[in-house]
Symmetry: C2
Subunit: 279 residues, 2 copies
Amino acid sequence: MTVTIIGLGLIGGSFALALKDRGLADRIVGVDTDPAHADKALALGLVDAIQPVGDAVAESDLIVLAIPVNAIPLLAVQILNRIDRQIVMDMGSTKEELCEVIEQHARRGRFVATHPMWGTEYSGPEAAVHGAFTGRSVVICQRELSDPDAVERVEAIYRAIGMPVIEMDPEEHDLHAAYVSHISQVTSYALALTVLEKEREDETIFALAGGGFESTVRLAKSSGEMWIPILLKNKYNVLDVLREHIHQLQVMRRMIERDDTEGLQATIRKANSIRRIIR
Amino acid sequence: MTVTIIGLGLIGGSFALALKDRGLADRIVGVDTDPAHADKALALGLVDAIQPVGDAVAESDLIVLAIPVNAIPLLAVQILNRIDRQIVMDMGSTKEELCEVIEQHARRGRFVATHPMWGTEYSGPEAAVHGAFTGRSVVICQRELSDPDAVERVEAIYRAIGMPVIEMDPEEHDLHAAYVSHISQVTSYALALTVLEKEREDETIFALAGGGFESTVRLAKSSGEMWIPILLKNKYNVLDVLREHIHQLQVMRRMIERDDTEGLQATIRKANSIRRIIR
């Protein structure tokens, strides 16, 4: 199988490695609007060749969109316009707008809308790693609108990489992603900013930074190029979750202000039940 | 050297293991007000014996307070009242009140106020691990008020465990700890609560929880027994930092609301500079 990967950053690059490592692709063609990214991906061996998008699509069985989410819907339509038998899939973190845009396309059946739940705080081809995705879930949206051969092929690839497949409608996906992914990103940026602002008056503020701080601000290293489109495309869910999160912080702040030990005990005991969810 | 460790939880237990692993103590006596903790610590081999606090202190060269910070100042005075040649140290996360309480004690010189910058989200004797502390910094406050032999002995122990020693006054310590440790704890609890609240109406909200979510909410598993005293003892610093953090969240929220891509770019670029600080 020949695969074209459009967007050779963290996600596209790591997916290329996963396909190669599992013997799922005979040939991987890379496409990237940034020539430096393209060169780097080729030099790193993530892809076998770099080609213009038209040539790459024409010779491929599977076309993978691994670009920022604001660019996916339009490119999805453009690719669907020029394919026939091929399968097209995306790996983006928001799904509602994309699914709406392609819904009435004559070749909607050739498209599989996916979101593999994996990422790191790094970006670009150099950030691509072996072993990515394995053990994490992948969401497929509007499975029933994809042709059976297309969706089965894509699911087989994800399963071969070791990813359990979850079906979800696009609205549900975007809501859930806001709660368990997008919000963590915003709080991490805000936490980094809080301490960096303090550093302007107190240069040694980071002397004590340890493991707890690192794990909560790690995501603040993530690129805006990837995340701003996600936050804006999932705007209404993100705004709702942020409002709730700020409310929780204000409630805890008032409890601390009033030395409300009992309130804090009840609150923290409740928060502790996150142990059910994460290891 | 015989060492008494008072408080056989995560910190005291891990310190006992570090002392043994490095051959820094011939005998470790454990003291804990919770008999179940004491039995467990003995069964796990963290300590060689369990004794009442009076007997333990009498036979020891070094007495280590590894209990919640609200209990440290009073016990520190009580221990100082009954020792002569021994060294007493604490490992608590707040320092201002403790240092104030013991400042005029006739045997202040025998006390060394320390805060090793290490912890995990787990608690109790079972949470004690080998290899803790190594590579992290330890703060010593009011070094000049400790007798030279006492502070040198304690520093030698921390250095042998592989911890760089930082000197800081208590006020500075508590301010810095609020920024790079205590605030992460509150945001993590609040983030867990935000998603757990949502789970009441949407049971599958965690289906997509991945690595980013886990790293930002990991600390929400931490026990209130340890953290409530820290948040209340460091109340004014924690309230200040929380106010700033909530402000940063509100600024980012407004930018998302207004589709302010440029503002978000500038904000995230600034947050990205946390790369200077954490690996």
